[in-house]
Symmetry: C2
Subunit: 479 residues, 2 copies
């Protein structure tokens, strides 16, 4: 499990923080937040908040009281204990891309299929830097619509032994995910004690939580499974064209969603979610890896810590249509601030392309390269007398080189991170190796990883029970 050992990079002054604080308080109390769920409205009404139709006007102090009930840190259990994830503190966990309807492999862009979903799950299992395949890694368009959540959950449970995200399309889907998690982890009581799936609840920003997401939230929070309450903010569309306004809105939306989880089940694990970028003001297209999104991300980490909450963001985001230079720099424009901000749960860490519409095989590998580099960068830097290697200087002297120094020979295997994708070959050697660019080399890594993949072992009885559940429920759902 990766721990971020470098300091947080915080850019908000106390004064700025106070202004933002005034901002979200005014939003929740004067404008309010809509909850398209009678159960949610009833809980808020009973707790003394002002409910008019679907809108709830909050006492900010009430929200803070609820938020204070949420745990600052918690675990999400994986069926392989080595892959159990800690959420919060200086821990950072990484999941794959979530939601694309399309895939790209080589020069081909096409509808995603269940076979793609399974391949991405295998890739996620293959890269130690990734803590989770995620959830809807891509939309399996060839699987029956009403029951594909069963197929996806089954694939995540059987092809990987890492944590996985729960389906949130409806309360029914959430209940199925929970039931399958119970089967895998030994029953309801076991998963309530040690949560084993994590789910993304998106806000229909601005200031509205929709019915289907809330139904899923009710299921997961009641079962003590963590939910990521995520304002979905593309500045200019779902929030004002202002970073501070967007940050205040993000707090208002996240805290109200979190408060609901605490009313459903006090102490239920939650994550302060963030998905914050901007649109191109001429075309209306969403843009990723932008300067504004990076600034928002840095602020978000600082803000969530102030509320004592773990924080989610993502990942290797890019608008680029192909895994080119733009995809490389935009992914890092998001991923490096993700580390600087101390984000705890990082979605879309692998495979995101084309504004999130495409799960890209090559980009998946490129993102793994970026992630490995950053994990190496944010290691502890131990500066001790011994680390100064004075003896090496005595040995080498002036104008020499350290290649053969005893200090070097003792350490050369481990001293630097060695990339698996990036090439530092000299030009002739690179040409002899085929003259492949990073995306082309990534293709060969995909092939190799899939060929080398070994399915993690799973108790045959549990696997049969999961398969039976999928079969039975698919029939019940009419697919």
């Amino acid at each position: 499990m990766f721990r971020n050992s470098l300091p947080h990079y915080e850019i908000l002054s106390q004064e700025a923080m106070a202004t933002l604080d005034g901002g979200w308080r005014r939003l929740v109390s004067e404008i309010g937040v809509e909850f398209l769920s009678d159960r949610a409205l009833e809980l808020f009404r009973a707790a003394g908040q002002k409910v008019e139709e679907n809108n709830v006007r909050f006492d900010p102090e009430f929200l803070l009281e609820q938020v204070a009930k949420a745990p600052a840190e918690f675990d999400v259990t994986a069926r392989n204990p080595d892959h159990t994830v800690h959420i919060g503190g200086d821990a950072m966990a990484f999941g794959g891309v979530y939601g694309p309807p399309f895939v790209r492999q080589g020069e081909v862009r096409r509808d995603a299929t269940m076979a793609d979903f399974e391949n991405f799950a295998r890739l996620a299992q293959s890269f130690p830097a990734l803590d989770s395949a995620g959830g809807v890694i891509c939309e399996p368009n060839d699987a029956p619509l009403d029951s594909r959540h069963l197929d996806m959950t089954y694939a995540l449970q059987t092809l990987t032994d890492k944590i996985y995200m729960g389906n949130v399309v409806s309360g029914v889907n959430a209940a199925d995910t929970i039931r399958m998690t119970e089967i895998l982890f030994g029953g309801r009581e076991a998963i309530e004690r040690a949560p084993a799936t994590i789910s993304l609840i998106n806000c229909n920003s601005p200031l509205r939580w929709d019915e289907r997401m809330l139904e899923a939230q009710f299921e997961y929070s009641a079962a003590n499974q963590p939910v990521v309450l995520t304002p979905f903010l593309l500045m200019g569309a779902m929030s004002p064209v202002s970073i501070p306004a967007t940050l205040a809105q993000q707090i208002a939306e996240a805290l109200t969603g979190i408060a609901l989880s605490q009313l459903i089940r006090p102490g239920a694990p939650v994550i302060f979610g963030s998905f914050l970028s901007n649109i191109d003001m001429q075309s209306g297209s969403p843009c990723f890896g932008t300067p504004e999104s990076a600034v928002g991300l840095l602020c978000t980490g600082q803000i969530a810590r102030r509320f004592g909450l773990p924080v989610r963001s993502g990942g290797g985001l890019t608008s680029s249509q192909v895994p080119d230079a733009q995809a490389g720099y935009e992914a890092l424009m998001t991923m490096l601030p993700t580390f600087l901000a101390g984000i705890n749960w990082v979605m879309h860490s692998a495979g995101w392309l084309d504004g999130g519409l495409v799960a890209s095989y090559e980009k998946f590998v490129i993102d793994m390269q970026i992630l490995e580099m950053l994990r190496a960068e944010f290691q502890p830097l131990e500066i001790t007398e011994e680390s100064l290697a004075f003896d090496a200087h005595t040995e080498v002297g002036h104008g020499g080189h350290f290649l053969g120094a005893a200090h070097t020979l003792e350490r050369f295997r481990e001293c630097f991170y060695r990339p698996f994708l990036s090439s530092s070959d000299n030009y002739d050697r690179w040409l002899r190796g085929g003259g492949l660019d990073a995306a082309q080399r990534a293709s060969t890594v995909v092939e190799r990883k899939l060929a080398e993949y070994r399915r993690p072992e799973l108790d045959a009885g549990i696997e049969a029970e999961l398969a039976d559940y999928v079969t039975r429920r698919r029939r019940e759902l009419g697919d």
Copy 2:
């Protein structure tokens, strides 16, 4: 002139800093630093340092006294006053790639020529984000060897009106650069008062300053022209395989070079230089954009500030052979820490490819895109009551969108940085536009910028005098 408005990201504790402090003191006093220059040795001897053959063992306190004479901030004058650069404080100035013998354009990699040099100078003039074309933007292999420094300086002086770097191949070349700078800026007294060229003095690390570089340093410092004293550190080759050891060595080398400038001319402007990365320990190839180089860079900014010195580093570094995803993420792996570290003079900000062996036209444009984004990111973030845009929320309400809000309409032109190279087009639109990746789009930007380029005006008398100087000196140099 760009000012970095975000906080510095500093990762060294006081304790770590004290350990590094002990490290460089021990290096300079016990092992010493070689200066292959009788003039330098004589100055150090006269100042009471222990000189044996070419080696100087220093009293660390003496070095600190010399360093304290150097200005913390200074200007470098451009012939267009709007392009004069401030070095130090929160100012950041950016120069193009420096030194490649090859160029790459499209799919062709070949020897660089004077025509390439001139093209890159034109590109540098065309991008406002770049403060300087640099110096040896590429090596003009078709120009006569002994006089090509004249051609390069002439091109930098006439094709751009920005600051330029001086030639350092020898004392003679430095003297020519200074003389041409005198012609352009109105004489020796004028440039001594207001320095107008900046030069890179590399250390032959470990712990040796070579004769030709020192000769150039003598010329420039005597003329009060700033020099960048730069340890050249590829860990594993020129320094131990340890970041702390390399940082201590970097301090030792930089401070001794800086002390020499102060003995040549007390108060002469200097910059704490850094060129710090690592080699691949299997192949011996230099690697760029590595985690270790990023950590070194963050520490370097903090260290230089402790000595009250402006600091140099670079830039858009990459090992990649082509302007692909690797080039994108590696460039940003260096460039973003450059901003976080508060580097003042950023070399290799545009065009670096293939470990610095290649000046790439497309990478130049990609780097300009990255630089513009980071300049936008490190703007002041003003969080005021007005910035919270509460009225926009009142107008839009729940679940609406902000596209047509009054707040948006007032600000949509300026609210977000708009990229010139990155594409956020939807896939169909992108396909209709040719389906070009970032490198291919960069090619078209190169063509357009070169077609649109207008030579900045220059007094005809001065230009003739420069041309005469070049002609005369070329004859004298036997080319």
